[in-house]
Symmetry: C2
Subunit: 420 residues, 2 copies
């Protein structure tokens, strides 16, 4: 027998088990078991509740029907997605904002989680990665898996090789340029979990910074459709020069309720370059195309037709109604929390409301208090990173009735109890 | 300005541009341009031509309709897939063959290309990989990207760190145990591209070999539904002990014409272990689950319902009819080629027919001869690896009419010309 054996990727062992949502689920289950009579309202998870737009459903049914006949059947599609969808994206999501993109700069995928997760494949292990704190865990976990995170420090809750950019009320949730310039910079605006945004001027500074430092920006704007204010960029390519330094991730999950349908896309401009150890320039677009052609086989034709329908006149009307519904929920939550005396961030240009707890109150204690006293479930801020401690996330994706009921209960509880 | 810069994964530069299908497309386009009057019959690519089963289309339409209503809407599903589909897989694909699997040993995906590509994430870079030659290029390319292939040797057409197991008519296409035991062994039966199979006895030897060497077998049986002969395993778990050493990849692409719908699954038994450098055992099932939960968000609900419909009585009837149609095509191709004097492999338990060219005839020369003289497109065997030189692949996925016409032309051409 040989001495060698199949060896695992030990970077996986450096992952911290993220018990956030499973702990929440367990606590909720326990509460419901002990209080079967009490109603629980869940405003914790980022899943949508409104059904799909009729235009999208009709498009799916039509596309499915096409597959029934030899003449209209479609087998393998392009790994990068069908032109019919890419053309709509270019016209409606970019051209309309004065941004020119080519068809081969768009890659259709089955969602932003996959794209933001898979993108690490094309970069060297030795790159230095910067993320905000708090952060969407996928950025961190996928870099941990691929060996860029280093060792986890239990006491700080941080990895040795990751550059953390704290985003708290102290800096108005604006990430600051780190002392050591990173190679890869993850930015997510409108932000998950804080719901805060970045102005064009702020984002322009990041583009310049990336250019100056030969870094790349991985820009996640999955929540772009929730922006209501002027001067907030919907795409990083609204910033001059961004096409040289940024990849952009977009998703139909929240825009059009596609959380269960699975479609998104990534924009990789042809002018974005990476470098070899010998400082030779390499096209990132070509690398990503090669990655996708090798490990991916395109998104379901039926799904791509559903996504295309989002851009129809009727589709736009329908999804905008849904977005408005969630935006109204966000406003109700913001107002309700403010009336209860809380400091509240986000919720204006995002479906997430980030609530600052009174001094000394911990995220998980607040979670327990809310659940046990008024049956409301949110997400403890610390679950998104150490700087999330003392914060709490509520989402606007619940039903109107539940959102209103939850706010009524919160107001009654906190104003009556003078807890804040 | 700092001296560092964003660095690419240079393993990508070790990839050999696979011009196989693009070269074929270019040659065909040129031929058609020069001979606009001549019919071209494509028997080269592995895409299906029959439309989807009505049961699957109906299931998709019904599922799409469900998403239109609040009461039946589904958002994020389980990353591992819905139980309704996993239960059918366990019952019909495994239990029926005496194999017991648990729900959490099945992972639904958007296809075998993604799964066979992504699986490399969970293994250490230092593992030694064995593939057959010829081979489905994804196994090789994804290991090249992740740094396991070493350097490419232009003159041999091989990578320095990959263990190649030649499969030619000389060894009856049965891969032999390599001199150096590999950590990861890719096996694909029924085989793409050769169309050959492996008996239970042969496969049992591989399971024992993997066990003895603490290796893992990545078993791709995407073409299992084409098996017609007895004693050919449909699943590696028909072999005792395989649950300790093998991961199995399955696809609905060819089984049910899902090439454009995208669904497959991977089986990762809980008894399969990998090891750390310190020889600690780690559950491969847990690693894969973590990989999928971090980088994947499940397959479209609509697609999973379509896959479920494959297992209905009507669905089974429909897909079996389609499979029979392709099997009949395979027989027509085999017979036609044999009558023309060729040595033919595969096509009995697989949709691929692997044709041995007369001594000294090169794959690409034969490609040109077939295209230029009788307008028939196949795939040069050398495109799948150096041992594919002198072979040629035809697929059974064309229409009956085209398949018959192609064979008529081949017979006329080769018998008349006495070329063989």
């Amino acid at each position: 027998m040989r001495l060698s054996m199949i060896k695992i990727n030990e970077n996986f062992l450096d992952l911290q088990d993220n018990y956030l949502f499973s702990t929440i689920a367990k606590k909720v289950a326990k509460f419901q078991e002990e209080h079967p009579d009490k109603k629980v309202i869940k405003l914790g998870i980022g899943d949508v509740t409104l059904p799909l737009a009729k235009s999208c459903v009709d498009a799916m049914k039509k596309a499915a029907e096409e597959l029934l006949y030899k003449e209209s059947f479609r087998g393998y599609g392009p790994e990068q997605g069908y032109d019919f969808l890419k053309e709509k994206i270019i016209k409606y999501d970019y051209k309309s904002r004065g941004i020119d993109l080519d068809l081969d700069e768009i890659f259709i995928s089955d969602g932003a989680k996959c794209d933001t997760g898979n993108i690490v494949d094309i970069f060297a292990k030795g790159n230095k990665v910067a993320i905000t704190d708090p952060v969407y865990p996928v950025y961190l976990d996928t870099n941990t898996m691929s060996g860029r995170a280093g060792k986890y420090n239990e006491s700080t809750g941080r990895y040795s090789n990751i550059i953390y950019m704290p985003c708290t009320s102290e800096n108005n949730f604006e990430p600051q340029f780190p002392d050591e310039a990173p190679d890869i910079i993850y930015l997510c605006f409108p932000n998950n979990p804080t719901g805060t945004v970045c102005t064009k001027e702020q984002l322009a500074k990041w583009v310049k910074y990336a250019k100056d430092n030969k870094s790349i920006i991985l820009y996640d704007c999955a929540y772009e459709c929730f922006i209501t204010e002027e001067n907030i960029p919907h795409s990083i390519y609204e910033i001059e020069g961004a096409k040289d330094v940024a990849i952009e991730f977009k998703s139909y999950s929240k825009t059009a309720g596609f959380t269960g349908v699975r479609c998104g896309y990534v924009v990789v401009p042809k002018k974005v370059y990476g470098y070899t150890e010998k400082s030779e320039k390499v096209s990132i677009n070509k690398l990503w195309n090669r990655r996708q052609c090798t490990k991916f086989n395109g998104v379901s034709y039926v799904t791509q037709r559903a996504a295309e329908a989002i851009y129809s006149e009727e589709g736009q009307k329908e999804i905008k109604e849904n977005i408005k519904y969630y935006q109204e929920n966000a406003k109700i939550i913001r107002n309700g929390l403010q009336e209860s005396g809380f400091l509240v961030y986000g919720g204006v240009n995002a479906p997430y409301i980030w609530l600052k707890l009174p001094d000394g109150v911990k995220s998980w204690d607040f979670f327990d208090e809310l659940l046990n006293n008024i049956g409301i479930v949110g997400t403890p801020g610390v679950g998104f990173g150490p700087c999330g401690e003392g914060y709490f996330r509520l989402t606007a994706f619940g039903s109107r009735e539940n959102t209103e009921e939850a706010m009524k209960k919160i107001k009654e509880y906190f104003i009556r109890e003078s807890k804040v």
